[in-house]
Amino acid sequence: MKVSYFPGCTLKNKAKDLDAYAYKSAAALGVTLEEIENWQCCGGVFTTARDEVATKLSSVRALKEAADKDQPLITVCSACHNVIKQTNHAMQTDKEFANKVNRYMACEKSYAGEAQVYHYLEMLRDLVGFDTIKAKVTNALKGKKIAAYYGCLLLRPNRVMQMDDPENPTIMEDFIKAIGATPVVYAKRNECCGAYIAMESPALAEKSSNAIVQNAKAAGAEMIITACPLCRYNLIKNGADIPVVYFTELLAEALGVKEDTNE
């Protein structure tokens, strides 16, 4: 299976692991990630104002390329996923906005949100199947108690994201089960780590992140997994004393391809 892939700025810099393990694991699962040509940064956050057009164009370009190739568009970073999926939804539902975008881009064929956007986790669940992953796991992470940290961007707003129940999600827990480990459910798994407020009020990010780690540990977690580089940064920066790792790293480990060198 060939899919379009949008890595995003951080995955080519501070979060190279998230990207590298995504490639290795995909290859092991028979999925070819075709990187969007000349992709541009999504901007990190979706601007909900309907009159913001320019900030959403990079997402539309990526979406359009995937749609033109008739491939699903895969994202890994929670922030990219949120921005791209929300932009796609705006292209589908907000005609005035979509008109402005299409006039600006002046492409031959206008774009109306035809692309299918999947987060890598959704790709695992819906396109590959957790059962398939289970079958391909060579190095099951048995006995490991892992807390899934969703944060806010993967799940909300649910009307647009449609990934899972926004208050009681299970996709990451199912992923953890698929790689042989034991999921730990805790209430703060869908609360915000503080995100970009780390730049503005580090104390708030610290308070939010601490509460999350503490809640996960109280529930018995030995490790936290995330899909978001900023979540990982905030949790670690603010003193998480259990490992916080990217889910793709654990996937690569379970599939036995973690040490493979990239081709």
């Binding site: 104002a49 799940l155 707003p157 407020i197 900023l230 670690i236």
Partner: protein, 128 residues
Amino acid sequence: MNNQNLKEEILRMSGVHPEKCMRCGKCSGTCPAYSEMEYHPHQFVSMVDNGEIEPLLNSESLYKCLSCFACIERCPRGVEPAKLVEAIRLIAIRRQGANHMTANDVPALLDADIPQQAIVSAFRKYSK
């Protein structure tokens, strides 16, 4: 712009219907940035509805919202307070010289591990 025009501009940008609010306060009950805010999510809704925009435009609260959408997700009336915060913040920083964060501010805020994502996000939220 007078307050009425500002209110209309905010409602148009955000697509929010503040009149749907039933004053339950769940947005403020769920907000992780509440303690940092001078005006809280439920106040954004009622103040916009009442046309009291200036105090909001000048409040630091605009820069404390995390855009985590918890208020949007949990509002029983579908009001979406965070979209009001976003619209007002944009009106504030679109004014000339009103950027809340400039490129010159950034180097001092960095450490070795901070992901690019944090910088672009903050920049998008705080400056034009």
